[in-house]
Symmetry: C2
Subunit: 279 residues, 2 copies
Amino acid sequence: MGNFRWGIIGLGLIGGSIARRLAQQGIPVLGADQDPATQSEARASGVFEALLDPPALVAAADGVILATPVGAIEEWIASLPWRPGQLVLDTGSTKRRVVAAMARLPEGVCAVGGHPMAGKERSGFPASDPELFLGKPFILVPTPRTTPEAAARAEELVTVLGARPIWMDAEIHDRRVAWVSHLPYVVAMALMAAAEATGDPALWEIAASGFRDATRVAASDLRMMGPVVRSNADEICAALEVLGQILARWRDDLCASPPMLPPEWEHLAARRRALRFPD
Amino acid sequence: MGNFRWGIIGLGLIGGSIARRLAQQGIPVLGADQDPATQSEARASGVFEALLDPPALVAAADGVILATPVGAIEEWIASLPWRPGQLVLDTGSTKRRVVAAMARLPEGVCAVGGHPMAGKERSGFPASDPELFLGKPFILVPTPRTTPEAAARAEELVTVLGARPIWMDAEIHDRRVAWVSHLPYVVAMALMAAAEATGDPALWEIAASGFRDATRVAASDLRMMGPVVRSNADEICAALEVLGQILARWRDDLCASPPMLPPEWEHLAARRRALRFPD
């Protein structure tokens, strides 16, 4: 990557994993995080060339990766002392509001939206892993501040991470993640709420791997997921509307006498068996 | 287990795994399966003392484990030439109909309902594993044909499998599994159906571990899950009713302007983080 210097603001699971991968590949990286415990962990890791405060990192880095929760990404874009020629890339899970904030950057500052489709239910720097992105899609989103050079630089980073760059407009991105990420998250929460509504603590004694996997994402940190859901609420509502219609139709089938299986289940089971995931 | 001889009818994932565990512990076991391919696999495995047809197995075994899909369990209970003093145990995922069938067994035949809370999305004898049950709950259900000796014998088997016996009435069992197994299954199918309803094949390119885990059980074999769902349709309908109310309430929160997060999400996320599963 020549003499281009990356800095990362937000050293949780995603920011920490990017930093570890760059360091592993011999690429120096600067770090910033506002949490003192995270600062200590990051310093002790030996991964960073230096830990700075965010304005100093912006002054020192050629490319800045914003890897904080989505609300903070917008605030950093609006408030940091960006320099012309500098590249800003983020890793937020929704993209319309981030891209709108990037469009308001000073002329000459370059910006690309990003969303690595990788995660764990554990969060924080201690959970970070240089191999987190291997083989995973890393969505890149054009903005009014995306020059050809900025796009190439973002793709180069994604390739170093071992991920697959996939370009997509912000609106299309937000619609798609509503179906594959946010709807499963809301549903996992609803399965927890429904089980709790029984008031039967013995449920938890017999809950097995099916329930564990179906509700895994419900354990996610709400400080991260809350802003994501709020920033994509319109698309999530549309998805919930469709899901509600499907469940109501199936309830009619199952409540019939004798009960009927929804006719599309054979197709859906075969479709799910045919899906392949990077993990 | 003294000279008590077990036989297993249905050598798929569950029956095969029980057989492998017994063989591993040096306990002889008889097997029966109506599928020629499964018969070959079972014979080649060296796990079984002998492979017989179901009536011959009933004639030769002291305890018979019915490990077929739930509809077939009822048919075998009604049709096989049971002998007084013999023990019948099943492994079906719903229990009310099986227990009712067991209550119609000839006087003197002993019977206990069973449901190991263990599974995989893969099925069939080749997926079987002697350690499948280790540390998992194995629900035991009393029937009008459950003598103290039959109960002790069933518990002894569960202990040999490395599982934890939990006794529960059939009605309570079927209600609980509706919430922790069947509702997550229907919801996984609905997430697949909702994603398919978008008509956007690019969704599958960006679906990550969250979607993978949330929909894992949708890949289950419908020949197994169809009869399970039909036999517990009343309890599943009740659970779907509650889930529908929760999702409708949350949709109102998320569709508000500005969008609100449902207030119970903090509690539910903490509750999910506190859950521990045997795996």
